[in-house]
């Protein structure tokens, strides 16, 4: 089976002009494969490189070293605009801070990836309405993001991530800014996307409860993979296992 993402000795360094150390080594050589229809969680302490890894996987940044393959295409060999095309068509993003544009209505925010893809207006409206109905936010279409609650905003973000029917959904702590009830709605929505829409999802999270929805967990520590946990099918057991390993992080 063709993998969605594959990383070989993935390295990412940052150069900070004002920092005491010239180079900060965030990711120090990661090897992993993400298969189709997987729901992978990435866990680790703050500063271990989770968000950096997600940026690399989302093709927002390029690795400093090693190789990364998106659908077996070498990312290093892709041009900037090709990466943009992949982001627009093949990847959906869900961020902790929602990343919605306050100047646009909910409907426009949802349609944004399609608008950027020069899709026909009618199909944009149709898709937006379909997903809004699915995630029960169709009553909010004319509202602006700042008029919504956190849970509602995140559902808008999920709709936006799905609207272009991407192969991969990347979620960066999607429940991080939400109360438990809203968080539950969001993670259920992601679970539903994974199961019903057969999408591959990679999710960064701190929350073991949320992580227990994943089929596999990659544990990061100091820029390296500490371990991988597999969900045997029982969420409660998996949750306990995650809790047990969190002490090592």
């Amino acid at each position: 089976m063709e993998s969605v993402l594959r990383a070989e000795k993935l390295i990412r360094n940052y150069k900070l002009p004002n920092a005491e150390e010239d180079t900060i080594k965030v990711l120090k050589g990661l090897d992993f494969v993400i298969e189709q229809n997987e729901f992978v969680g990435i866990m680790g302490k703050s500063g271990c490189g989770k968000t950096t890894l997600l940026k690399l996987l989302g093709l927002i940044e390029r690795p400093t070293g090693g190789e990364m393959y998106f659908k077996e295409k070498k990312v290093k060999e892709l041009w900037e605009d090709e990466l943009a095309d992949l982001r627009r068509r093949k990847i959906g993003f869900v961020f902790q801070d929602f990343y919605l544009m306050d100047s646009l209505t909910v409907e426009e925010n949802i349609m944004l990836p399609m608008i950027l893809d020069k899709a026909e207006e009618e199909s944009c409206y149709e898709s937006a309405r379909g997903y809004a109905e699915h995630f029960r936010i169709n009553a909010l279409m004319r509202k602006y993001p700042y008029e919504l609650s956190g849970g509602e905003r995140q559902r808008v973000a999920i709709c936006r991530a799905l609207v272009n029917r991407p192969d991969l959904i990347l979620a960066d702590e999607p429940t991080g800014n939400l109360d438990s009830q809203s968080g539950k709605i969001v993670i259920d929505a992601l679970d539903q996307i994974h199961k019903e829409h057969k999408k591959t999802i990679i999710m960064v999270t701190h929350d073991p409860q949320v992580a227990s929805y994943c089929s596999r967990i990659i544990l990061l520590k100091d820029g390296l993979i500490l371990d991988e946990l597999k969900n045997g099918g029982n969420r409660e057991e998996f949750y306990q296992e995650i809790l047990g390993r969190m002490a090592d992080l």
């Binding site: 002009p17 004002n18 041009w79 605009d81 943009a84 982001r87 627009r88 100047s103 944004l112 020069k118």
Partner: protein, 911 residues
Amino acid sequence: MGKKRKAQGESTERLSRIQRRFSVVLYMLEFAALGYPWMMVGEKKYSVVTFALKFKRDGIDSLVQQAGIEPNVLYEIGVKVNLGIFAFFVLVGIFYLATVFARKNWNINIMSLLTAIAVLYAGTTPYMMLDFCSNYTEGILCIGAFMVVAAVEFIGRKVIENWDVTVTEADEYHEKERREKEERKERLYFPGKYKKLFYRVIWKNFRRNLKDYTVLLVCNALVFGFVLTGFGMQKLTSQEGTTAKMTMTDLGEWEVTVEGGAKELPQSGLPSGAGEVLLKSIVELGAVGLFMLVLLLLYYLRKRIPEYGVFKTLGIRRKTMYFCMGLELGIGTILSLVIGGVAGTVLIAVFQKNIGGIEGSFLSPLLLLKAVAVMLVIYLVTFFVTHDLFVGFRMGCSLDLQVMKERMPRKFHIVVTAAGLGLCALMVYWYGMNGNFENIQILGGCLAGLYLVLRFGISGYLVHVRKKKGALSKLLRQHPFYHKSRSAVWYMFGLCVLQVCILAVFSVQLFSVSLVTDKDALFPYDLVMCASAEDGEDMELLEKMRQTAGVETLDYPMFRVSGTDATERSENNEMSAIRSQNIGISESTFHALKKAQDPDYIEKSLGLDDEGESIYIVHQQNKATKARPIDYKSLRSTPYLYTGPVCIGVDEYSPRTSFSRRRIAGEEVSGLIGALCQGERENLVVFSDTYFEKAKDIWKETNPYDGEVLKPEERAEYAEVLNQGPTRLIVAKADDAAIESLKPDLDAFRQRHRSEEAYDAKVKSYYLKKDVMFRMDAELNMQKTMAKLLIFIFFAAELLLLGIKMMTEKKMNVRRTEFLNCMGMRKKERRKLVRWEMGVYYSIVALCSAGLSTALLLTTFHARIYTAEDIKMISAKLLPFGVSELAALGILMWVLTEWNIRQVEKKTREA
């Protein structure tokens, strides 16, 4: 395989054939050229062959005689060698052709080329064939042609040899390029057009920032308006802006040419001084405009970049994004240029009306182009500064900067704070010296000292407090300064700089005008002339003036006192600085002039010596004019001055022997004979009577170009160019009718002294009171208008700075308020906290700026040699202004703080 090899073989054969034909044709041309009669010997033309035959038949003597050259035994050898080389060249050529026909690739053509070079070399060597030619140049060209053809043949063969390879490589390159282009087209295939929705989204996104965009646009427009005003006013007032350019003639002499402006030097005409005041102010406005532009652009980018970041993350094409950004900036730029253009035109009209005497049209395509070019440079500077700040402060970084602690200086707090204070004190002291002409660089040094005090002083205090007991009770209050120490200091420093400019610089410009109360005292005479006692016509004019009704004349001995530089700014390298020209008088003349102005004047000793080392200076300027030294270069407090006309070759860095170093025994600011050039030129330099008599003759022994003392044997050589310059100072009180009647004589007088006047357009041979007063009024009006405008703009910049501080920190303040609210802090307490923070800002800024401004004001008074009466008078205006300005700042800061508190609380409630 066989076919390919066969094809290769055919191609090689084809190229060899071309090579052979090419070589044969060129070498046949060479041989034919040997028969071409290019040598003109006497009246007859010869080819190399016929020349050789003639030489063999008649011998060298016949040829020498025919050529009409001096006989020399070397000619025979020379011609033999030359012909021998030619023969060798022919032999090599024939041999080469033989190898070509024999299809041997022996590269003999290299030898042939070297021989052709030898032919050319021999041709240019004495005693060889070309010496016989009367057409030497044609000869060189002809024998050069042998070498050129040989070289072309050599290179041509190589090119033909590699032709296939080159063509193949080029084809491969084009093919590769085509493939890449196709691949790019295929891989980046993105058909269709963006739909209406896309443009709606972009517009809505832009519209949300319309308010900030408008502010940026208005600021842009203002800066362009100032630039255009500057150029426009410069054009309108530049008719008098003649400058003398000194150039060295072929004979090694200095020549003075007058450049720019009108061909005829006007007597006073348009108020160029006002133009200079305006230009200086425009530069200051430009500087604050740049500051505001950078601030606004930073703020704007901080808001816009994350929005474009969303588009980028969602996969917008790079070109599309840059197009949107470019369109946004481009439209803004065009609009700001149009609005700024209109604003500039209106501003000039206002100045024309206010100042008077400036008429005419200033707009021209070239002027607009210049202004746009300057604006582009300003944009470029803004871009680089903004970029540096953006990177330096890591504003584009994905990290949440609001939560990041800024680094604080950890060591040397006391030492650096003390050094900063010392620097401030030293700069304030220097600022108070007349010789330093209230130099802006010294002010800059002083502000640098203030920055060190703020940065290290505040850090030192915070670190010290943290270590003490009870630090926790102050933790919340001091946290913003501790956490964001660098930003806090930059805001404070920015406010201090703007405040000091308002309180210590522009306020003096504005209120010192009120010290110019008695304009008649500044111009006691209606006519001032610098005449020559040796000129009969000048003396006749003096006599005529004495006999004219309504004219009261006084005359005194004088000589020119010239320095090394009269310009505040250094000139470019091509043009030498204009040397200062002043009026040298004796101590008794000084007392006589004083007595003539004030009958109750009591003579007092000026402390001058007989050797001329000590001088007394009368700075002839009004009290509103800034401090101006007698000479801008070479130790302004102990200037080098020469008692004669300008020596144009004297370098300001190496004054020559005739330039003695003088000590200023005393100085005053007054218009003893008239504030003729407002202290820039025509100041009075008083010498002791004894030295005055001696110095009168120094010009006779001085080189008029380089200022060196002439040796006795050199004096005769320079006798004709030696010139003493004006020697008689004539001052007269006359009514308008009398001056009108003297006009033709004055014009003739001016023509006689034209050469002296031509050197520096600002120094005239005579001055009329009404002209000079008109000029001064224009300058004072301009000074007042610009000072008011500058105060307003700088104050607006302060508010902008505060506004941007509050807007950029809003998010952080919302978070803090949320946190404190959660922690159970009362609303009143939270508000108190924000008020306290702004209170600290205000207190530090007010304290530093008031303290520094007071010190600078006092030193300015000292530099301008103000009397106690002057200080009292100006302080009566400055003090209320300073207090009310600080109060206004305080009130507006309070209003902004309250508005900010409400905004933050509202956001917190929403969150």
